[in-house]
Symmetry: none
Subunit: 526 residues, 2 copies
């Protein structure tokens, strides 16, 4: 039985991060990811007419068939001086049909009188009546006590009264929020102890990182008996971010020896963290605790020597427990043997590092990695490079040329037209196609040219397409990395392309993506 519940608000509070703007597709994909890792609650958004994406999210989340997580819809207590059932925002919350509802209310007397401008008594009733109303329509209701710690410091009695109102209304969890992120851990611990004397409802913590304390405050709350932790994957969020649920998860299991539901999937932690960064197209923080590329990277010579002698003497946990690995930064040899391992895995044969073909391959991989290919997130491009270099596979077509024409007129009409000329089986395949943008046009022309020879090509989907400019302050001739996901009936695969020309980088990715399909079919004897 889990002894602590993880409540993920990546899709709601995490979406307040300036760097992030989730589409409906992003949200649904991320919800699947968060569920697969084993978070207990996933806060999907604030469904109301101003947030059409969130309204749609709750309509479609059922189709994702989540296995464990409870989906929660976020909102606030009713407005002053109306009935809960007449409040349009509460009605929108009910209409979302989310099994769990989470609403925030005011704990700080200053906010009641000067921000929402009502009486202290009315605010207590707003909390109690809103919770009670939602309870009638929900499996459970979670009450977020906004600015609780600041409120307690200003007026402890009133802040506690607001929690009692939520308890009377029937809240299943009362979450103490350090909304402004300014509370120090020792204050937080004292205030939680005071709350526990007055409130018997299970408690949660919601921390922000404005003082650099979000993770510490969350863990200290758990040490003080709190059983729900709210946070955001990789610590995204408004201002300085929410509590980093990635770090918290590892700390809870490995340091506090807690047993949340997701503990059994801890070895997927790094994978999940990187996958979310891929969804939001943000470069991953290499220094992130537990999951960053550098989290177990040893640079100093003395350290490396020590790790070689007694690894636990220089590592606070075993990197494999969180799906990460030890890296020796000074040693290029380490990189080399890693690639050899990968190649062995692909080819199912032993591989000699001194074989000239392997040496050529290692050099090529190293060069491309330096150019920014990042093969770790483009395994199909990696495989294509290995198979081609070692002569295990030959692309069954070659490019004579492509031409892309982009026109825009005074009336604001844009047209993208691509011509592709390929050599296939000693024949010429020349095709032209238009598309919604240059990549779409090139993709369409390329398929049109390939499909007569490889009919299964029509089942290939281009599922995702992302672009990143590598390096800043370099003007429009910077290197560009294109990354895309392809899929068919049974698989998905990822490819990358790098060039100073965005069209060429896209072309490399398209070629790898479609050629991988041909490779797959040939391997299966088609």
């Amino acid at each position: 039985m889990a002894d602590v519940f993880l409540y993920d608000t990546t899709l709601r509070d995490g979406n307040q991060d300036r760097k992030i703007s989730l589409s409906l597709g992003d949200k649904l994909q991320a919800a699947k990811l968060l569920d697969s890792f084993g978070f207990d609650y996933i806060e999907g958004g604030w469904p109301n007419p101003s947030n059409p994406i969130d309204v749609e999210f709750f309509k479609h989340i059922g189709e994702m068939h989540l296995t464990h997580a409870k989906v929660t819809a976020f909102g606030s207590t009713r407005r002053p001086n109306i009935l809960p059932e007449d409040d349009p925002l509460l009605k929108a919350l009910v209409a979302s049909q989310a099994p769990v509802k989470t609403i925030f209310g005011k704990s700080w007397d200053l906010h009641v009188t000067d921000v929402i401008r009502t009486t202290l008594e009315e605010n207590l009733d707003m909390i109690e009546s809103s919770v009670r109303y939602l309870k009638e329509n929900s499996e459970s209701v979670i009450y977020d006590a906004e600015h609780f710690f600041d409120g307690y410091k200003a007026n402890p009695q009133y802040a506690l009264d607001t929690l009692k109102s939520a308890e009377l209304g029937g809240a299943d969890f009362i979450v103490l929020c350090d909304t402004n992120g300014g509370t120090m851990p020792w204050e937080l611990a004292q205030i939680i102890q005071a709350v526990k004397e007055k409130v018997s409802t299970p408690l949660g913590i919601h921390a922000h990182n404005d003082s650099g304390m979000a993770v510490a405050n969350s863990l200290i709350a758990v040490q003080n008996g709190i059983t729900m932790v709210q946070g955001v994957l990789n610590g995204y969020g408004e201002r300085c971010g929410n509590a980093n649920l990635t770090t918290i998860c590892a700390d809870l299991v490995l340091k506090l020896k807690k047993d949340p539901f997701c503990a059994k999937n801890l070895q997927d932690l790094r994978k999940v963290s990187l996958a979310y960064d891929q969804i939001v197209n943000i470069p991953s923080n290499v220094n992130a605790p537990y999951v960053g590329d550098a989290a177990f990277a040893h640079k100093g010579g003395a350290h490396i020597d020590g790790v070689m002698k007694v690894s636990r003497s220089f590592e606070h946990v075993d990197p494999q427990l969180v799906g990460n690995k030890r890296v020796f930064v000074a040693s290029d040899q380490a990189g080399g043997s890693l690639v050899v391992e990968k190649v062995k895995e692909l080819l199912h044969v032993d591989v000699d590092k001194k074989d000239p073909k392997i040496r050529e391959l290692l050099l090529l991989i190293k060069k491309r990695e330096n150019d920014g290919w990042h093969f770790d997130s483009a395994e199909a491009s990696f495989e294509m490079l290995v198979y081609r270099t070692l002569g295990h596979f030959t692309t069954p077509f070659s490019l004579e040329n492509y031409r892309l024409i982009e026109d825009r007129t005074m009336q604001g009409v844009s047209v993208s037209q691509a011509t592709v000329k390929l050599h296939i089986n000693d024949e010429i395949s020349l095709q032209v196609a238009e598309g919604d943008g240059p990549v779409n046009a090139l993709d369409a022309a390329l398929r049109k040219a390939l499909t007569p020879y490889f009919p299964y090509m029509k089942n290939v989907r281009l599922d995702d397409f992302k672009v990143r400019v590598l390096g800043s302050n370099v003007g429009s001739d910077a290197h560009v990395r294109v990354w895309s996901t392809f899929g068919d009936e049974t698989d998905t695969w990822h490819v990358a392309g790098v060039s100073s020309n965005i069209i060429e980088a896209s072309w490399f990715a398209l070629i790898d993506g479609l050629t991988y399909k041909i490779y797959k079919e040939q391997k299966n004897g088609h």
Copy 2:
């Protein structure tokens, strides 16, 4: 009189960060910066024959005429079974002539027996004799007890004995190091209390962030009576980084009400943080506590409304105290009142929310935000939209058409050629240009067409260019957001462009970026 000393190891431990490699010039420049802010100690490096830059640093640091900071040279205790005066690394430390020496020694019995492979007794003597030897040649000696917390957990008596040896040798400070960064704050507090019962030398803390606890552990150490904090500006360092001295400094002054020497310069905190990022050429963390661009950025509509009413209700400290400022992010979640505020600020006149022109503008802004323009990071595009919609500015040219041709041949040669046809002052300006990629070609053609009419255009730089595909699972016809930075002799400005066509999105950004220059010049009467 200062009640806590800040010991900066940006130049030594911070330089172990994978992203950083400081030159001699960088180190000297950074030392000047760190001193000007008022850190008490600056650890310059480990001067020995393997680190020639560090040897040079100590030769040249005198020329920098530091005003307050004491420069310290870092090293380790002597090797087993020799005299300190015969140890080449200790001799190199003395030769540096740094007024303060900091040496680390082993606290963890496992390290003594299995890593440096000597007896527990010899290690105690190594510590005591090395400290004593350096004291004869230095103003003061600081002893770093490496892996102290892990050592204490393994063998408390021996770990304490190592500290007593440093005390006997005459150490001026004994610094407890959480070298692997795995210690939880409550363990740390208990262990510090145990140390204080046995050791009377002033204590320091040196924390790493492998569990996300470096800042919290440093502050909790101070709460437990520790009087020296070691850390690195902006939290750089090996693996997950050292304790972030930027955050710690603000927390110490504003939250713990401590009075370190640098407290009087707290309003320079953001400036110093950004200046160091400039030296190491790393993009600043926008979400950094206190100093990040987003640290006081308000995005949610309800929040902004609250800040307008009572600012302290939504900010844990006054941003000016750390040299930062409040920002209202013009996102779709923000209410109309925010946009009105921004428009007022731009036009320096009062603006009526019910004015039909303003309503039209608000709707347009909202629509574009929904499309993904993110005006908060593209203020020049925002201004252009406001001025054009309200009739304050008319773009002095119009597009008849552009045509972009991308060719790639069998030999792998790519060519980008752009043709641009503009109407300017009743004339036609038709130009063609080639470039390294489509955006570069369009940019070149556009400038070629504009420069004869607007000669200052030749001073405009395109400094940065980024692309993001908005939304996943949507294939290559997804919406694309292009974001770029332009600059001239005096200013930089940011623009965005959104379209389903990446070329068109780039075009919008280019047009806004170059038109903004024309607007600027016209405003200045040129």
